[in-house]
């Protein structure tokens, strides 16, 4: 029995991987994302793949970190152990604090890295040889923009509840900070309650149900991501108040587009993982081949999706994959958020 098991183990592991030979002169791109269990992160992974496929001398591997700082560093080191200075990275870091570690590890090994999203204070690309670029659609801005859209649709007054993400994660905290910033600008809007629904649809639905019975007069629900927004919408549907109580999301998953089309969701943000990860990878690749950049901190396009532009966005991000010219590094740069239409014009 034990021998059979041992054999199974060996075969399984042999099948699950295939032999690599280091030192083939190719660049090896490590695409670090949180997990594959989420549409947006999968979108990011696909962005990286799209870039790698467009170059003959780039091999890629997707590495997942489960949002764990430590596992992220471990994965980077594992990758460097295989390919040495021919490893390049584009990472969606587990947390802001961890970006410094990512950079230090890469610096030590001489690998180029592009960092997305999180930007630690004092950690500037210009101070490091390996830290090529920082690209991000800011979470604070995202939270601010969805909140603002929501408040405008409410007519600048009324009661709002908020759904928070996982405690301890940066993006949850930042989006909520953006929400509060917007809230401060609208004195007639009152926040009734905030609950931590941990990105969970089920918990969001439960909280919304409780709100609807305890504070039946709420006008809107601000949610830090789409999954929670969908949970809130399910609760509203049971009461027949979907579309009447406004809900917003963030991330731009497929189901959210459908909810906008159905009129249940007021807005979401398409962070465009394809663009973010693809161009991040491109920057790292160019840098590894010797290029230098003068403006290494970049705010990328992200799209506020509303009923007005939902059709186009869906066609672009969900039904297909956007094609970009990855050599035109300037394409992704945008000074601030704009609507999809603006991005198209560019």
């Amino acid at each position: 029995m034990k021998k059979i098991l041992a054999f199974v183990l060996a075969v399984l592991m042999a099948l699950s991987g295939c032999a690599y030979a280091a030192g083939d002169g190719k660049w090896h791109l490590g695409i670090l994302i949180h997990s594959m269990d989420n549409e947006f992160w999968a979108q990011e992974a696909n962005g990286g793949k799209l870039f790698a496929d467009s170059k003959d001398d780039v091999e890629y591997q997707v590495l997942t970190t489960d949002g764990d700082d430590n596992r992220e560093i471990q994965a980077i080191r594992d990758f460097i152990a295989q390919y040495g200075d021919h490893a390049i990275f584009v990472t969606d870091p587990a947390s802001r604090a961890n970006t410094a570690n990512v950079v230090e590890v890469c610096e030590e090994a001489g690998c180029k890295v592009a960092i997305l999203w999180h930007h630690a204070d004092g950690l500037e690309p210009k101070d490091w040889k390996s830290f090529v670029v920082h690209m991000s659609p800011d979470d604070i801005v995202a939270g601010y923009n969805t909140a603002k859209t929501l408040f405008e649709k409410m007519g600048g007054k009324g009661k709002v509840c908020a759904l928070y993400g996982v405690q301890g994660e940066d993006s949850a905290a930042n989006r909520y900070a953006g929400f509060q910033k917007a809230l401060a600008e609208y004195p007639n809007i009152k926040m009734v309650d905030m609950q931590v629904a941990s990105w969970s649809q089920d918990q969001a639905m439960t909280f919304t149900q409780t709100w609807l019975s305890a504070h039946s007069d709420i006008d809107a629900i601000w949610s830090a991501n789409d999954t929670m927004a969908l949970g809130a919408i399910e609760a509203l549907k049971l009461e027949g108040r979907n579309g009447k109580v406004l809900v917003c999301g963030c991330d731009g998953i497929a189901a959210a587009y459908e909810a906008i089309e159905a009129g249940d969701l007021a807005c979401t943000i398409a962070n465009n993982g394809y663009l973010l990860m693809g161009y991040g990878a491109s920057y790292a690749y160019q840098a590894a081949r010797g290029a230098t950049f003068d403006k290494p901190v970049i705010k990328t396009q992200a799209v506020l999706v509303t009923p007005e532009n939902v059709k186009d966005c869906k066609a672009m991000f969900i039904d297909g994959m956007p094609k970009y010219d990855y050599d035109n590094l300037a394409f992704c740069v945008l000074s601030d958020y704009a609507t999809f239409a603006d991005a198209e014009k560019k």
């Binding site: 041992a6 430590n70 471990q74 604090a97 301890g168």
Partner: protein
């Protein structure tokens, strides 16, 4: 000659043959197997850089796994070690710049305190450890989140040099790994050569009998929880030094990792048996699997499936022999 007709000759280590020695130590085999499979797939798995990497990953997990081992030997469980590590990591990360390395003994004291709380609830008030630690876990976790202000905070860039020494390479391997090895050694000594350790095993094997034989069950159990919480706190401190930041979510999956390591070493969860050496092998296996999957280029979609299957197979190979009469729950 003390030989007789009665008794079972199947587990008699005295003057044993090399075969029975091998039989008893088969738990090492799965670690060797896992490592060699990954080595075959990708020879750089055993490069110096990679070994440094793997040992660096093992360092914080070792004290946590050895710590929870003590609780498992008594037949209890401690679900709170992840949260304790998170809290310790946050407190260390936030304060190491101001307090300096005095934070380490402070965190040890923190672990002792938490262990006494958990342990007393279990041993004195006689609540099931599963529920006590499950609930306590949410308290420690909340503390970590509130203290850190919701997200990771890194130690200011200027002060990072303060914590660099922990990651330094000494004799080819990271210093913190040597520290962890020292902790494993200390755990081994506690298990094999102290009254406390032996009492822990006696309680796990038969608590009623141990009590009547004069073992102080309340104190011993509390001490087991204390060792466990201290191990978790050391793990948390090491994560803070390693990641140079306070990460409130660092412990979230560490409980399962630690307990998988202990199980991979072949330790029973019914209590009374186990050893830190087995846990060491378990930690090597767990870290090798997760690092190896990165290096073998496993599609991340398959990560969970592969990990689950490898876990089952490795635990099955490692499980202790000669105990087929015990009831496994």
């Amino acid at each position: 000659m003390q030989n007789t007709k009665t008794g079972d000759f199947r587990n008699v280590p005295e003057g044993e043959s090399w075969r029975s020695f091998l039989y008893r130590n088969i738990y090492i085999f799965s670690a060797v197997l896992v490592v060699s499979v990954f080595y075959i797939i990708n020879p750089s798995f055993l490069s110096l850089y990679s070994i440094q990497n793997i040992t660096r990953e093992m360092a914080p997990l070792l004290p946590m796994a050895c710590g929870i081992g003590f609780v498992l030997y008594t037949g209890c469980i401690d679900l709170s070690i992840g949260a304790v590590a998170s809290a310790a990591c946050v407190i260390t990360g936030l304060n190491v710049a101001d307090v300096g390395h005095w934070i380490i003994p402070m965190m040890l004291a923190f672990g002792v305190l938490i262990g006494i709380v958990n342990g007393s609830l279990v041993s004195r008030i006689k609540l099931p450890s599963f529920i006590v630690t499950l609930c306590a876990q949410s308290v420690y976790r909340a503390a970590a989140i509130v203290l850190s202000g919701g997200g990771s905070q890194n130690i200011a860039l200027k002060q990072r040099y303060l914590v660099n020494w922990m990651s330094a390479i000494v004799f080819g391997l990271p210093l913190m790994f040597w520290i962890s090895l020292g902790i494993v050694l200390a755990c081994l000594i506690i298990e094999r050569n102290t009254k406390l350790g032996k009492s822990i095993f006696a309680i796990g094997a038969n608590e009623k009998a141990a009590r009547l034989a004069g073992v102080d069950t309340v104190r011993t159990k509390t001490m087991a929880f204390m060792l466990c919480a201290v191990g978790a706190a050391i793990g948390g401190v090491m994560y803070a030094y390693k990641l140079k930041s306070s990460v409130p979510a660092i412990g979230d999956d560490k409980f399962m990792m630690a307990i998988s390591s202990v199980a991979l070493g072949g330790t029973l969860f019914s209590g009374g048996r186990g050893s830190a050496l087995r846990t060491l092998v378990g930690v090597i296996t767990v870290i090798s699997i997760s690092s190896g999957m990165n290096m073998a280029g496993v599609d991340p979609l398959w990560n969970n499936v592969v990990f689950g299957i490898v876990l089952i197979v490795a635990v099955a190979i490692n499980s202790e022999k000669g105990i087929r009469d015990l009831i496994i729950k």
